[in-house]
């Protein structure tokens, strides 16, 4: 019970400090708008197919996540608060607190991108809503899970942002490939049950990465 409440406390602390500065939210929002507008300017009146649109969607999600999700740990190192955090909380509650924060952030990010894409691209119409929702929720959790542990590595490596996408891309690619396929399916209007294998992949990916990160986090967090 105690670890649960300290996990919650860390989530709350991160949310509060985020609300105070709005650093990650602003960066993510501006990134998403810029990316969508650039793509829109490039394609103008073309009618991209649903697989192209789902590809663009996940490209924007990936790079936006890479620009924002490392904040949680990098800011601890920058402010020099990681030592204090090590003292007051167990590493697993730190990990899950940060993970929950990143999941919330990724879900918000996905929501923003979905709204923006619907407005900007006439071809981006979600036909099968359940498929789309499930895909986005599962992929957000998976994305946040892998990004959180990598953010911890990056923060300790003192390389700031440059190495983050390099490290994340090969690890996230199985997830992104599956998510792109499922999203294209949702845009095409395939029935909900058609891509059961994709959800299986996404769920097992989430479980494997989260369990692995939970076991490994201790070695990253404590020097």
């Amino acid at each position: 019970m105690k670890s649960l409440s300290s996990t919650y406390a860390i989530l709350l602390k991160d949310a509060q400090s985020e609300l105070r500065t709005r650093y990650a939210v602003n960066a993510l929002f501006m990134f998403v708008v810029t990316a969508a507008v650039i793509v829109q300017l490039a394609i103008r009146s073309e009618q991209p197919s649903s697989s192209v649109l789902s590809g663009l969607f996940w490209v924007v999600v990936f790079f936006a996540a890479m620009s924002g999700l490392s904040r949680t740990f990098v800011s601890e190192e920058e402010r020099g608060t990681s030592m204090t955090l090590q003292l007051v909380a167990t590493s697993s509650s730190v990990y899950f607190g940060k993970l929950l924060f990143n999941i919330v952030l990724t879900l918000l990010l996905n929501l923003a991108i979905t709204l923006l894409f619907t407005v900007v691209f006439p071809g981006f119409v979600v036909q099968t809503f359940e498929t789309f929702l499930l895909t986005v929720v599962l992929s957000s959790i998976g994305l946040a899970s892998a990004s959180t542990i990598l953010a911890a590595i990056i923060a300790k490596a003192n390389t700031k942002g440059t190495l983050y996408p390099v490290l994340a891309f090969p690890i996230l690619l199985p997830l992104l490939m599956t998510a792109m396929k499922a999203t294209a399916r949702a845009l095409e209007g395939d029935p909900f049950g058609a891509g059961i294998e994709e959800y299986q992949i996404l769920i097992s990916y989430i479980m494997v990465i989260t369990a692995g990160s939970y076991l490994l986090f201790d070695y990253v967090w404590k020097d």
Binding site: L150, L167, P170, Y205, I209, Y219
Partner: protein
């Protein structure tokens, strides 16, 4: 890391087995209806290109094996904090990079003459490409960290984490997606392992397994050499301090 007997086995075993595979794999003639053990059957569509099977597949296998070694020694490093395990892990990753480049090149050449293009984004080509990216990212991460212990710890975590996603790439995705390699979805032989034992003649199969063992032994020998060099380097660095 390895005893004296086992290193002797690696050395002479790999040299003799790979020599056998080179001679037999290239010199045994291919005929339409093989009569003896010293004749390979002609596989329609592959013909002489089928000989690449003895080199390309074991190289990809060794790349994955090297990755596995790197992850296992990463775990051992994290448990014991013994820097020697980090030397093994990084040496194995370096060899994995070498073998995955070899597998990519032999595969691309084979693909050019069988499928028409050097690169087709077949699921397995994608997965070897990602394996290359992982190795690249691993060395980029290592070069970014100055402190020895930190470098060893963080890169060990990264290999293990990447090792968790490799099964998705190597074993799950290629079977679920349409592709050109045998065993992909939509392939006549159905969903199955990449290499189906009954697909090829028994003598080819034998030689293939000999090649697998030969290349694995070669990897172990090379690993042993690199680890010894790495240890010497480490000792020397400590002596300077």
């Amino acid at each position: 890391m390895f005893g004296k007997t086992s290193t002797t086995i690696f050395k002479y075993g790999s040299v003799s087995l790979i020599s056998v595979v080179l001679v037999a794999g290239l010199a045994i003639p291919m005929t339409v209806s093989p009569q003896s053990w010293l004749e390979f059957p002609v596989i329609p569509g592959l013909e002489e290109k089928a000989r690449n099977l003895f080199f390309h597949v074991p190289m990809s296998w060794t790349a994955v094996l090297a990755f596995f070694f790197s992850a296992v020694y990463g775990i051992r490093y994290l448990r014991t904090k013994n820097i020697d395990f980090d030397v093994v892990s990084v040496s194995s990753a370096g060899l994995g990079l070498l073998f995955s480049i070899l597998a990519t090149v032999t595969g691309a050449l084979w693909a050019k003459f069988n499928w028409g293009a050097f690169w087709n984004w077949d699921p397995r080509q994608t997965s070897i490409f990602i394996l290359l990216l992982i190795y690249g990212a691993y060395f980029a991460l290592r070069s970014a960290i100055d402190s020895e212990e930190k470098r060893a710890g963080l890169s060990a975590v990264y290999t293990i984490l990447a090792g968790l996603t490799v099964p998705f790439l190597v074993f799950i995705m290629p079977r679920m997606m349409a592709g050109l390699h045998p065993g992909a979805q939509g392939d006549a032989s159905g969903k199955g392992p990449l290499f189906e034992a009954n697909m090829i003649a028994p003598n080819m199969r034998m030689l293939f397994y000999v090649s697998l063992i030969g290349f694995s032994l070669l990897f172990l020998w090379l690993l042993h050499l690199r680890v010894r060099a790495g240890r010497l380097e480490f000792q020397q660095k400590q002596g300077e301090r």
